[in-house]
Amino acid sequence: MSAQSVENDVMIQTTDVEKWFGSLHVLQGISVTIKKGEVVVIFGPSGSGKSTFIRTLNRLEEHHRGEIVVDGTVLDNDVRNIETIRSEIGMVFQQFNLFPHKSVIDNVAMAPRLVRKMSKTEADELAMSMLELVKIPEQAYKFPGQLSGGQQQRVAIARALAMRPKIMMFDEPTSALDPEMIAEVLDVMIDLAKSGMTMIVVTHEMGFAREVADRLLMFDEGKIVEEGTPDKMFDNPQHDRTKEFLSRVL
C-alpha cells in the first residue's frame, strides 16, 4: 500500500488527546488511528475514559489538548467544522435518547430534513428504508414509548444511519437492555459491520467483539493499556490489567 492511499484511508486520527474533569485527568494522551471500514471495540473498567473519549470525537465533550482529525476535518472551536464532523459521525447512546414527542418515522426523518434540507417525502422515504434495515418498518407510526428497549435502540441506529454517516459510534448500546433484547441489537450491528461501515463500539459484549472487531482497545485510567486483534487480546493478553479485566467479563 502506498503512503498516499494509507493517508486517504484514515477516517479518524487522534494525537495525544487529553481532557480533565476539574482536577480529574480523564484522558491522558490518547492516540488512535482508525481506517475506513475498520471496526474498533473499546472496553475497560468504568471510569477508564472510554465513553469520554468517543464523546470528544464529535464534540459532545471538549478535549483540552492534542489533535482530533475526522475525515480530513480538524476538530477545533470552529462551529462549521463541528457541524461537518457531527453530520459524518452517527452516534448511538446507552439510553437510546429517542425524541419521545415524535413518532418513530419522525425521529428518523427529522435530522435529514433539518440538517440535510430534504423534503418531507424524500426524508420519509429514506427513514422507511432505514427502518427496514433495522427490521422494524412496521413500528414507523408508533411513539418511542410504545416500543421495547431493543426496538428503541434499533430506531436509534436507524436515526443515526439516516444521516448517511461515514462513521458510526456506539456508546454501550446494549447496557440498558434486558438480556433477551441484546441479540436483536447486536444482530443489526453485526450486519452493519459486515456492510463495511467504519465503527467504534464501546461495549463489554465480547462475543460481538470476537465476531466482527478488527481491533480491540483496552482503556484504563485514561490511557490505552493494550490494543490488538481479538485473537491476540483474548487468547494472549500481555498486560496484567487486561488479563484481570478480561477474566472478569469473559
Binding site: L60, R86, G90, Q95, F99, V115, A160
Partner: protein, 402 residues
C-alpha cells in the same frame, strides 16, 4: 410488551348493595360515623338558609341588569357589533372540540347548556332584547357546526389556533370601530365592560402571555448575558410585585409621567399590568419545563448535527411545554381570575359591573348577594371549563407516555 390480563373471571365479585356501600364508606370505623353525622348536620343547616334565600331572591337584579353585566356601558345602538364580534367564539370552541376531542367537550357542553338556559329564561321576563336572545339561540348551532368542521381530517390544531387569533383581531376591531362618521363609530374602551371585558382580557392575555413567557424563559437560559440579565430583572421584579400594586402603579402613577395631550387608555394599562405580572410567572413555569428535558435529548440532537436553534425549537421546547401543560393551564386560570382585580381601579369588568349595579342603583342595593352569586357562578363555569381542559390534556399525555 404484553397486555395485562383483563379476564373477568379473575376479578373478585364485589358486593354492590347500597347498604354495604354506606356501611363501608360512611360508618366504619367509628370516627367516620362521627364525621358523617357532623357533615350531614352542616349540610342541613346550609340548606335551611340557602333554600329560602334561593326561593325569595331578587334575581331581577341580575336579569334586569344583564346588559351591564355582559357588556358594561357599551352603547345600546352599537350592541350588534358585540354580538357579531363574539359570534365566531362558539364556532371556534366547537372546532376545538372536534380537533382535540374529549378534553374540549366540557367547555362545549357548558356553552350549549348556558345558551339554552338563557334562551329559556328569556320567556320569563322581557328584560332581554330579541337580538340578545337570538345570539344565544344561534350559538349552540354554531358549536355543533364547528364540531362537524373540526372533525374533518384536514382541519388540525394549527387551523383552530389561527382561526382563534383572527377571531380575536376581528372582535377587537369591531368593538373599537373607526371614525365618528363611519358605519361603525369609535367606541372608547372606557365604555367596554362586563363579561365581555373579562373574556377579552383573558383571551388576548393568554394569547400573549404564553409566547412572551416562552421567550422570557429562553432568554433567561441564554448564553448572551444581556438577554439573560434583562429576563432575570423582568421576572424577579414582576414576580415580587403584587398585581394590585402594579395595577395602581400603571393606572395612577404612570399618567403623571405621560404628556398631557395623551389620554392613556385605562383598560389597556390594566391589561398590560395583568400581562406583565402573569408572563413573569409563565416564564418560570416554562423554565421548569426546559430544565426537565434530559441532557441526553440535547446530545442526541447535537450528535445528529442539528443546530442550536433547531435543537431548542424542535427538541427542547415541545417537550418542555408538554411537561408544563398543567402549570400553563393553571396560569391561564389565574390570569382569568386576576382580571377581577381591575374592578378595584374602577374598571367595569364583570365584577366592576356588579359593583356598579349594587352601588349605583338604590333599587338593587339589597340584592348584592344575588349579583355576586351570579358573578361567582360565571367565574366558576369558566374556570371549571379550563381545568377540565387541563385534566383532559394530562389524561392524554399519560396515555402517550411510557
Amino acid at each position: 410488551m404484553t397486555e395485562p390480563t383483563t379476564s373477568s373471571e379473575l376479578r373478585p365479585v364485589e358486593d354492590q348493595s347500597f347498604a354495604t356501600w354506606v356501611k363501608v364508606n360512611l360508618f366504619s370505623p367509628w370516627y367516620n360515623s362521627v364525621l358523617t353525622v357532623v357533615g350531614a348536620v352542616m349540610v342541613i343547616l346550609l340548606l335551611k338558609v340557602a333554600i329560602p334565600f334561593l326561593l325569595t331572591a331578587q334575581w331581577a337584579a341580575v336579569t334586569t341588569n344583564i346588559q351591564i353585566l355582559l357588556v358594561g356601558q357599551y352603547p345600546s345602538e352599537e350592541l350588534w357589533r358585540v354580538g357579531a364580534g363574539v359570534l365566531p367564539m362558539p364556532f371556534i370552541v366547537g372546532a376545538a372540540w372536534g380537533v382535540w376531542g374529549s378534553m374540549m367537550r366540557t367547555f362545549s357542553v357548558i356553552l350549549i347548556v348556558a345558551s339554552v338556559l338563557t334562551v329559556i329564561s328569556s320567556f320569563f321576563g322581557d328584560s332581554m332584547t330579541p337580538g340578545f336572545v337570538l345570539w344565544f339561540a344561534v350559538s349552540p348551532v354554531l358549536v355543533l357546526l364547528g364540531y362537524t368542521v373540526g372533525r374533518r381530517s384536514f382541519i388540525g390544531p394549527r387551523h383552530v389556533l389561527i382561526g382563534w387569533f383572527l377571531f380575536l383581531m376581528l372582535t377587537l376591531f369591531l368593538l373599537r370601530g373607526f371614525g365618528e362618521d363611519s358605519a361603525m363609530p369609535y367606541v372608547s374602551t372606557s365604555r367596554w365592560g362586563g363579561l365581555l371585558v373579562t373574556i377579552l382580557i383573558a383571551q388576548v392575555g393568554i394569547a400573549i402571555v404564553l409566547p412572551l413567557g416562552i421567550v422570557l424563559a429562553l432568554a433567561r437560559q441564554s448564553n448572551l448575558w444581556f438577554f439573560k440579565a434583562a429576563a432575570l430583572v423582568y421576572i424577579e421584579i414582576l414576580r415580587a410585585t403584587p398585581l394590585l400594586a402594579l395595577l395602581f402603579l400603571m393606572l395612577i402613577v404612570s399618567p403623571m409621567f405621560l404628556p398631557d395631550i395623551t389620554t392613556p387608555d385605562r383598560l389597556m394599562l390594566a391589561f398590560i399590568a395583568i400581562v406583565m405580572n402573569n408572563s413573569a410567572y409563565m416564564a418560570e413555569n416554562i423554565r421548569g419545563g426546559l430544565q426537565s428535558v434530559s441532557k441526553g435529548q440535547i446530545e442526541a440532537a447535537e450528535a445528529l448535527g442539528m443546530r442550536g436553534r433547531h435543537v431548542t425549537l424542535f427538541i427542547i421546547l415541545p417537550q418542555a411545554i408538554r411537561a408544563t401543560i398543567p402549570a400553563i393551564v393553571g396560569q391561564f386560570i389565574i390570569l382569568f381570575k386576576d382580571t377581577a382585580v381591575i374592578a378595584l381601579v374602577g374598571l367595569l369588568d364583570l365584577l366592576g359591573a356588579a359593583y356598579a349595579i349594587i352601588l349605583g342603583q338604590d333599587a338593587w342595593r339589597t340584592a348584592d348577594l344575588e349579583v355576586f352569586l351570579f358573578v361567582a357562578a360565571v367565574y366558576w363555569i369558566f374556570t371549571y371549563g379550563m381545568s377540565s381542559v387541563s385534566a383532559g390534556v394530562e389524561k392524554r399525555m399519560r396515555a402517550g407516555a411510557d
